[in-house]
């Protein structure tokens, strides 16, 4: 069996959108954190400046998908069904992190929550919760 860390990196490499945002993966033991390095191209409001809300939302969506890949290595990529994003603070032009938690996984659908933060985990800049359709099982 392939190492889950390598497997997740390989699967994310097949998501061009994740490369467009510049997303990287960071592992600490079994847990992983997605990293969105600061890039000028992810800015939504240049005069503040602030990261684009859509970009932060997309980043959290990729994080949810990555978590589902990790828990279902033999399935094809999951797809979002419905998501709710709450924007809590301005995304400053610094590195941003995201971590996802699966609240329920059924045979077809999973429910996840994602938190995106910058310096402090306790003060998230945005959260996402949503349902995702699991991909076809290839086992």
């Amino acid at each position: 069996m392939t190492n889950p860390i390598e497997a997740i990196k390989e699967r994310l490499a097949n998501i061009p959108y994740a490369q467009t945002l510049g997303i990287e993966t960071q592992f600490m033991g079994e847990e992983f954190t997605l990293v969105l390095p600061y890039r000028e191209s992810n800015i939504g409001n240049p005069s503040l400046p602030a990261l684009h809300g859509g970009g932060v939302g997309g980043f959290m969506e990729v994080c949810a998908i990555a978590q589902l890949i990790l828990n279902n290595p033999n399935r094809e990529l999951p797809r979002p069904i419905g998501i709710n994003i709450d924007y809590l603070r301005r995304g400053r032009p610094v590195e941003t992190y995201a971590r996802a938690q699966i609240f329920k996984q059924g045979s077809r659908v999973a429910n996840l929550r994602v938190r995106a933060w910058q310096d402090r985990f306790e003060t998230p800049i945005a959260t996402l919760n949503g349902h995702f359709l699991l991909g076809k099982d290839n086992t």
Partner: protein, 172 residues
């Protein structure tokens, strides 16, 4: 205030607001149209937007960004004053995968504003409005220093006048 003056101002600033957003430019989002409390943008298909190289389908996050941008522009036209905006919440339902190769259109409508909050709904489709790729519901907050439409128009007119004066002086 005169509705035509308002619309003229929206058309003048609408395209530059989209083009002046680095992340919108990065994804290739284009300004299409603007109205009173509504905005339409386009996201032409491109490889960097893809969410799965097996299928070529555009990633949900790119659709999220298109809808967020369209809602922001519609919210801008919905407020009584001009100024900054911030997304508070965004709810998106993905009805189906977008067809690979097709441009996705994002249309947003601001159906209510209070002093500080705008309420919007939006649709993303790839050619047929009645068969959407995604539908969205959003709230935005007005932020920062704000100016009235009258003041914004006056400032623009004064600026334009100054420019014509300099032009006439330099040509005479």
């Amino acid at each position: 205030m005169d509705m035509n003056e308002r619309l003229k101002l929206f058309w003048e600033v609408g395209a530059s607001m989209v083009n002046g957003t680095p992340h919108a430019r990065e994804l290739g989002i284009q300004f299409v149209a603007i109205g009173d409390s509504q905005a339409t943008l386009a996201l032409p298909y491109s490889e960097p937007l893809v969410g799965d190289i097996q299928t070529g389908v555009v990633h949900g996050g790119a659709v999220t960004t298109l809808l967020d941008q369209a809602c922001g522009l519609a919210a801008f036209t919905g407020f009584d004053t001009l100024g900054g905006l911030a997304t508070l919440s965004l709810r998106i339902d993905y009805q189906r995968a977008a067809k690979p190769g097709q441009t996705i259109i994002g249309m947003a409508e601001c159906y209510k504003t209070t002093k500080h909050v705008a309420f919007l709904r939006a649709v993303a489709h790839d050619g047929d409005e009645t068969d959407p790729v995604a539908t969205a519901q959003a709230t935005f907050m007005s932020t920062g220093p704000r100016v009235s439409f009258e003041d914004a128009l006056k400032a623009r007119m004064e600026k334009a006048e100054k420019q014509t004066q300099t032009k006439t002086r330099s040509s005479s």
